[in-house]
């Protein structure tokens, strides 16, 4: 069921969260590229292969919305899954208008996240 050739970028400034998500996605069978900040991720782009990005909305170096705009500009086809605090409805709407985005509320339920990743990759295909 899993595309082993797809790459899942995980962007989170919290090392323990980054580590646990990386472990989870990897355990599910995808390639994972963990990144500790938004800027690191932007530096990694453009990316032309199959894949998706899981991004924490709250990061110190760049706001989630700005990051989404930059991703939309650099690789418009890359689906993004945004991890939010759960009640930022306005931000969600703004981000959804920019690019292909899904949302997962904190605390992150691994099963929900994995099914979102699957759906995102399917959409890309």
């Amino acid at each position: 069921m899993t595309d082993t050739d797809a790459t899942v970028f995980i962007v989170d400034d919290d090392p323990s969260v980054l580590k646990s998500l990386t472990r989870l996605i990897r355990a599910a069978g995808w390639n994972v590229e963990p990144l500790a900040s938004g800027c690191d991720f932007l530096a990694r782009l453009p990316f032309s292969g199959r894949g998706c990005a899981i991004i924490d909305l709250r990061m110190p170096d760049i706001t989630g919305l700005d990051l989404c705009k930059r991703i939309a500009a650099l690789c418009p086809s890359l689906p993004t899954i945004l991890i939010t605090d759960g009640d930022d409805f306005k931000l969600r709407a703004a981000a959804a208008a920019v690019t292909l985005i899904d949302f997962v509320s904190k605390p992150v339920d691994g099963e929900v996240l994995l099914s979102d990743v699957r759906a995102a990759l399917a959409r890309q295909r």
Binding site: S20, R23, G110
Partner: protein, 852 residues
């Protein structure tokens, strides 16, 4: 006047009120002052007004008896702003004349704008450095008697209307006080003089031949005492030396006369003598007022210590000069106002006729005829009645006084007929009594003349044997005292004026005597919710106040009834007719009314001010509450965010671990790492919670035995104004006394939250449908408190979530936080909190606490 604005604040409503309050305070102080303190109170008032309005000068101009024109009676200069003293205002006073026409305040922005005819005013103001003037007339009984002037050193165009209005009111008050004093003094003076004149005249009427000298001395003594004269002398012309006067009678106040008898006026007082022989009066308030040609007189006066002098010729009929009567002071200089000179002349007349009688070789057959002459100036006459057979004799002067023609036939009945119908019965009674007792009688009555004129008459006399000794006659002097009665009436008018001012006052005023309301003004009637004054007159003053203010009122009224006179201020709660209460501020003082002293309270309804204060307090409370909420909110958001991180990591790790276990060859090293990370993240979550707990204020719990009923009562008292404001009806009939061991402050917080929630919830109801019911019940092992409101209640689906899901409600619903706090406090005491919608309407919040 450049800055008429009071220094403290802009002339807004509050400040206007400030000036009005000042005006009434000034009135209260001036009104209560005894006559000898009125001037100093007015000085004080002038100072306060000048300072309040930040003017440079305040001047009060009033006429005096001696000077022909007005003089400045009070002046106030702000130190450092002008010359220390202000010279006397010029006699030809343009301002008073001009103001007498209008009565409105006159403003002169620049002294240069004054018309040419005000040249004297102009130079006067120039001299004291005044550039602008505001002038108001002092008025009494429709006549202007002076002016109140505020002046400044710099040009000033306009004055705010409200300040002008208050000034007019204030000046009215000052006028009223000054006029009252003047009228009282005039009246007392009149009364004193007429009594003296009547007494002396009566004495001489019944005089035996050998008593004249001693009666003259006694008259001199009485005159001295009545008019505060140090020395009275009587000089007579000797038959053998018509060109000089010889001193025959002296009354010296301290007893030690510098004179030896038979002093010759020609030797010591040539100038005064000349005046006396010519029939002129001689008067000088000060020795230096004597003309140069009176050098010898001045020298003599200096030797005998005379400081001030009045000499009146003694004459009978036309040009018959008998001598002179002199009045002098040795302790201080004094003025001799025209009015008092006239009075001394009348007294001299009486003495002159007594002397004429002594000199007369052929004794007058009827002493009455002689006396009548002496009473000419005093508008008095003599009458004598014999009852059986009826016969009456009237002196010519008496006939004139009563409006009878000189040759008109008068019977006793006809004579009594001119007595005013309303006084006739009283006169009959007095006459009968005089006849029965043969004692001296004295009465005041009116006569109604044929032309409709009404005169007031004072009659004094006695029932005595006539010259033949065979029958008895009632003989009396009747004196026209209409003038004195007019002065009395004027005094009454002045008191009426006070009453009027009270009536017109914009603030409620109540006058109290013997713990009862004597009088209130219409503003009082209005503010206290009555229809008319009659409802209040005679009511106990205590009932005008709310029960909680009564102790204080009782003490205060008692203090005034037992002699306290200084004004006091206090605040309490007034009680309207409909039993509602309102906050009142009062200035209380004592006034002299015609029938004795009374306590006057100037009141202010301070509902609005207190409402504003309460609103400020509420805003303050609200911001405190908001701050707490915000703090709680921030902590909550931060807590959620921070906890989300380790929780996310734990969940992801655990799920990764589960996925790992699904594999055929699970990597146990990886699995160990996962478990280790989970443990670390869990610790991290614990640390976060501990940190948050440290941030939240820790309240020390202080357990003691408390009475729930007492606590509820205290809270109701504390929230009284709020409850009153919201029109909430509070029912505590189901509160039983029940002691629990708890933290009083915390339980108070719980009750306060529940009550506040209830009051807020009921705001959507009409005022008469807001009902707050407390009940305290003692159960088996716990006490139960219910706070029941008549608000809309809470939807059933939310009622259960009010406590369990506080984070969802933090932003929109402070009820949640409040209930959470209640819940945590009550639970920490071992009780619980719950909400139930009432069957009819509203919500009941209940909590329990273990019994002690």
């Amino acid at each position: 006047l450049t800055q008429y604005k009071p220094q403290k604040a802009q002339p807004g409503a509050e400040n206007r009120y400030g000036f009005e309050a000042l005006a009434w305070d000034v009135l209260a102080r001036v009104m209560k002052a005894p006559d000898n303190q009125i001037d100093s109170k007015i000085d004080d008032a002038l100072r306060r007004i000048v300072e309040f309005l930040n003017a440079d000068f305040g001047i009060l101009i009033q006429p005096t008896e001696t000077a022909s024109g007005p003089i400045q009676s009070h002046a106030r200069v702000i130190p450092g702003r002008a010359q220390a003293s202000v010279p006397a205002y010029p006699d030809s006073c343009f301002w008073v004349d001009r103001l007498s026409a209008g009565g409105q305040p006159a403003v002169v922005s620049r002294i240069d704008d004054l018309p040419p005819e005000a040249a004297e005013d102009k130079s006067f103001f120039r001299a004291i450095g005044v550039e602008t003037v505001l002038s108001l007339a002092l008025k009494a009984r429709d006549a202007v008697f002076g002016a109140f002037i505020l002046a400044g050193r710099h040009a000033q165009k306009t004055w705010p209307d409200e300040i002008l209005r208050s000034l007019v009111l204030l000046v009215d008050c000052l006028s009223c006080a000054l006029d009252g004093k003047r009228t009282r003094l005039e009246f007392e003076d009149q009364l004193r003089f007429q009594t003296l004149l009547a007494d002396i005249s009566t004495k001489f009427l019944h005089l035996a031949a050998g008593q004249l000298d001693s009666e003259i001395l006694s008259a001199l003594r009485r005159i001295s005492e009545s008019f505060d004269i140090d020395r009275c002398t009587l000089w007579q012309m000797r038959a053998d030396r018509p060109d000089t006067l010889i001193l025959t009678h002296v009354y010296q106040r301290d007893g030690a006369s510098p004179f030896v008898p038979e002093v010759d006026a020609a030797e010591f007082f040539p100038w005064i003598l000349r005046k006396g022989i010519e029939g002129d009066i001689a008067v000088f308030p000060r020795l230096c007022d004597l003309p140069p040609e009176a050098a010898r007189d001045r020298e003599s006066f200096g030797k005998i210590g005379t400081k001030s002098f009045l000499g009146v010729p003694l004459s009978v009929g036309a040009g018959t000069n008998l001598g002179a009567l002199t009045f002098s002071t040795t302790r201080a200089e004094r003025d001799w106002p025209d009015r008092s000179i006239r009075q001394f002349q009348l007294l001299a007349q009486v003495l002159a006729n007594a002397l004429a009688r002594k000199r007369s070789n052929d004794a007058l057959r009827e002493s009455e005829v002689f006396m009548d002459v002496s009473l000419d100036c005093a508008r008095a006459g003599i009458w004598s009645v014999r009852f059986a057979p009826p016969e009456i004799w009237l002196s010519p002067k008496m006939r004139q006084l009563c409006g009878f023609a000189p040759d008109e036939e008068v019977t006793p009945d006809k004579f009594l007929g001119i007595v005013h119908p309303d006084d006739r019965e009283m006169v009959d009674r007095m006459v009968r009594r005089a006849v029965e007792t043969t004692e001296d009688f004295r009465m005041e009555h009116r006569v109604l003349l044929p032309d409709g004129t009404i005169l007031w008459i004072e009659a004094r006399g006695r029932f005595h044997p006539d010259l033949t000794g065979k029958s008895k006659r009632l003989t009396a002097i009747s004196m026209d005292i209409t003038e004195r009665k007019m002065a009395e009436a004027a005094l009454h008018v002045s008191q009426e004026r006070f009453r009027e001012l009270v009536e017109q006052a914009p603030m409620p005023i109540g006058i109290v005597r013997d713990y009862e309301i004597l009088q209130v003004n219409s503003k009082y009637v209005e503010v206290f919710g009555y229809q008319n004054v009659e409802e209040l007159r005679g009511q106990p003053i205590i009932e005008q106040w709310a029960p909680r203010s009564r102790d204080e009122i009782r003490k205060m009224v008692q203090a005034y009834e037992t002699g306290l006179t200084r004004p006091t201020e206090f605040e309490g709660f007034g009680l309207r007719k409909d039993r509602t209460e309102f906050p009142v501020q009062a200035i209380v003082t004592v006034v002299q009314l015609p029938d004795g002293p009374a306590t006057v309270a100037f009141l202010r309804d301070v509902t609005e001010e207190r409402a504003i204060e309460r609103e400020i307090q509420r805003l303050r409370d609200r911001s405190w509450h908001a701050e707490r909420l915000a703090r709680a909110g921030i902590i909550t958001v931060s807590l959620a965010h921070q906890l989300n991180q380790p929780l996310s990591a734990i969940l992801s790790n655990a799920q990764a671990g589960l996925l790992l276990l699904d594999r055929e060859n699970p990597d146990l090293e990886e699995f160990r790492d996962i478990l280790k990370d989970i443990v670390d993240d869990d610790r991290r979550a614990g640390d976060i919670i501990r940190t948050v707990r440290r941030i939240l204020p820790r309240e020390e719990s202080n357990r003691e035995t408390i009475s729930l009923a007492k606590l509820i009562r205290e809270l109701i008292a504390m929230l009284h104004s709020e409850i009153l404001d919201q029109g909430v009806e509070v029912d505590t009939t189901r509160v039983v006394d029940c002691a629990v061991v708890a933290d009083k402050e915390q339980i108070r917080q719980v009750l306060l939250n529940l009550i506040t929630n209830a009051i807020e919830a009921m705001q959507i109801r009409a005022r008469d449908q807001r009902r707050l019911q407390f009940s305290v019940a003692r159960l088996e092992s716990e006490a139960r408190v219910d706070v029941r409101d008549s608000g809309p209640g809470i939807p059933e689906r939310r009622i259960g979530k009010m406590f369990v899901d506080p984070f969802r409600t933090t932003k929109k619903n402070r009820l949640g936080i409040g209930l959470m706090i209640c819940s945590s406090i009550v639970e920490s005491h071992g009780g619980r909190v719950w909400l139930v919608n009432n069957p009819d309407c509203g919500l009941t919040a209940s909590f329990t606490l273990p019994l002690k």
